[in-house]
């Protein structure tokens, strides 16, 4: 019963973490300025010829103390900070944070805002997976895919710009709803994009899926077993690529995901190719969710009826004294959030993104902890790479889809 740890296991763990010396092995430094480490990841490789004996990731180069900064801001001022954690899926981070705070406040969110959140969240997933696919293929040597992916990503970013005025740091989800109503032609533009997007995914697959070079570089490479993936805390496509069927959108629905029908792609082999297949299938599933969201988009307000929390409309603020007072108070004093603590997790493109928000009853969060999916996913790197070739390290790192902003925070 209980603690099954034994001393041998502890010794083995400690042994794994200390560099070995006195052998004919060489230690090779990769990064932090290496193009295929996607930012500032540094990896120490202990190699014997071409074989990787040991791999030790070194993180923290992008640490900005964002959790500390959150403690000094009002609740609504934290939203723009969440964009900057994972700059490839800003709205997923916005969503996770605002859901956590709304849970503490006990706010009821109008249906249209919830559906818009699902719609934008899935567009964000498409955006993020496109960057991943392009750069991952580029790392392994397939240049064309990169150009194709960024062609479609441009369209998605234009949609973001239309809706939020920003291409990357959108801050579109606010506590209590959305920042603005979507512009008039917005849904037509999304419908147009969703209509042709799956044929574009066919194009990417034509370039890669059956391509012999791509298969040689990815099949059977950087294997991760389901046991290791769970034990190391992996989530998202990194976990599903190893045959574990977990998706928080389906298993623990939030913001109305229970109203949507979609499949959760799972692949069994646990290699780079299965993670690739999972993500490409997710592109198609996300597109289906976008179409369902468009078809069922309810009418109504996009902000909750909570005057002390949600900023009033610009029109009202200029004509009604009361709205002006609320506006002034929210901007200068913030709003108090009842004491308590919540942990809200969402399925980000990379896995389980979680926000742990602790309130002490004031207008500033007492503590905000961000559970970054990539941090745990990156821990699986040694299981993937040890015993493999140096050239496959790049494929393995690409297949995890790391974003260092999220890892280092």
């Amino acid at each position: 019963m209980g603690d099954r740890a034994n001393p041998e296991q502890a010794a083995a763990l400690a042994e794994e973490e200390t560099p070995r010396t006195g052998s004919r092995r060489m230690v090779l430094n990769m990064g932090p300025q290496h193009p295929s480490t996607h930012g500032v990841l540094r990896v120490l490789l202990e190699i014997d010829g071409e074989t990787v004996v040991r791999i030790m990731p070194d993180i923290g180069f992008l640490h900005t103390g964002i959790e500390k900064t959150c403690e000094a801001k009002f609740y609504q001022q934290v939203v723009p900070l969440t964009d900057r954690i994972d700059y490839l899926c800003p709205m997923t981070n916005n969503l996770c944070y605002v859901l956590a705070v709304e849970k503490l406040l006990g706010l009821e969110i109008p249906p249209k805002a919830q559906w818009m959140r699902v719609l934008m969240n899935e567009l964000t997933r498409i955006n993020s997976h496109l960057v991943w696919l392009g750069t991952h293929a580029l790392d392994i040597g397939a240049m064309t895919v990169f150009l194709y992916c960024f062609r479609e990503r441009e369209v998605v970013l234009n949609l973001f710009e239309a809706i939020a005025g920003q291409r990357m740091m959108t801050s579109y989800f606010r506590i209590g709803g959305l920042a603005l109503e979507p512009p008039l032609d917005f849904f037509d533009r999304v419908r147009d994009f969703a209509g042709y997007f799956s044929s574009k995914v066919d194009e990417y697959e034509n370039l890669l899926t059956g391509n012999p070079i791509w298969m040689m570089r990815t099949k059977g490479v950087a294997k991760l077993t389901a046991e290791d993936a769970i034990a190391l805390g992996a989530s998202g496509p990194t976990l599903r690529g190893s045959g574990v069927d977990i998706d928080l959108r389906r298993d623990m629905p939030y913001t109305g995901y229970e109203n949507f029908k979609f499949k959760v792609p799972v692949a069994q082999e646990g290699d780079v190719f299965s993670r690739y297949m999972c993500r490409v299938a997710e592109l198609r599933e996300s597109n289906k969710i976008v179409q369902q969201a468009l078809d069922g988009m309810p009418e109504g307000p996009v902000k909750a009826n909570a005057p002390g929390v949600v900023l009033p409309d610009r029109e009202k603020m200029k004509t009604q004294m009361e709205a002006l007072i609320y506006h002034f108070k929210i901007i200068t004093e913030g709003f108090a959030v009842p004491a308590g603590e919540v942990y809200q997790a969402v399925e980000s493109p990379r896995g389980e993104m979680g926000y742990y928000v602790v309130s002490d009853g004031t207008a500033k969060p007492y503590r905000v902890h961000m559970r970054a999916a990539c941090l745990a996913n990156l821990q699986t790197l040694h299981k993937m790479c040890e015993g493999g070739l140096i050239a496959d390290v790049v494929a393995a790192i690409g297949s995890i889809d790391i974003v260092l902003g999220e890892i280092d925070r």
């Binding site: 740890a5 973490e17 959790e67 805390g233 977990i246 603590e341 503590r367 559970r371």
Partner: protein
């Protein structure tokens, strides 16, 4: 002792049955179960929850600094059971360093979930909480020669430029 309000939660009751001294409190708020665990018991309770209650995943380990209150630190664990679609939050309270005393210390849960490794290093790095039996307890985010623990409440938000 398990608060009476938690008697209807199977997870809480089973932990109480596993070790009567382990649970020191808890609550159920916003649909989330929190159990306060005696710091000395954390590794065995985590082992029990993982192997006998199906909490196969550890989502995150973090800490909260309640300075100047004592016990000052809360080490917080979020566990996820995939089969039951459930989460539970474990919380251990630790007293801060007394003059001439040692830094706060708690057992590591890396023998139970290997994925706790980096999370515990992060808590050590930013809060200065030591983890016993951790395989590689050194700074992870800050430079190795950094002084102080940034996420403590008595550490300033802004400082001189480096």
């Amino acid at each position: 002792m398990l608060p009476d309000s938690l008697r209807q939660h199977a997870t809480a009751v089973s932990v109480e049955a596993f070790d009567g001294d382990a649970v020191t409190g808890g609550n159920y708020d916003h649909g989330e179960l929190t159990l306060e665990i005696a710091a000395a018991k954390i590794a065995s309770v985590c082992g029990f929850l993982k192997y006998d209650q199906g909490f196969a995943r550890l989502s995150t380990v973090t800490a909260v600094d309640r300075f100047p209150a004592e016990p000052r630190f809360e080490v917080v664990y979020h566990l996820h059971s995939v089969e039951h679609k459930q989460r539970v939050r474990l919380k251990c309270r630790l007293i801060g360093k007394e003059p001439g005393g040692t830094e706060p210390v708690i057992d590591s849960v890396t023998p139970v979930w290997r994925g706790a490794n980096w999370y515990e290093r992060e808590v050590f790095d930013l809060f200065g909480i030591q983890f016993r039996n951790h395989p590689n307890l050194k700074r992870i985010m800050m430079p190795d020669d950094w002084e102080g623990y940034p996420l403590r409440k008595d550490y300033p938000v802004t400082g001189s430029r480096v």
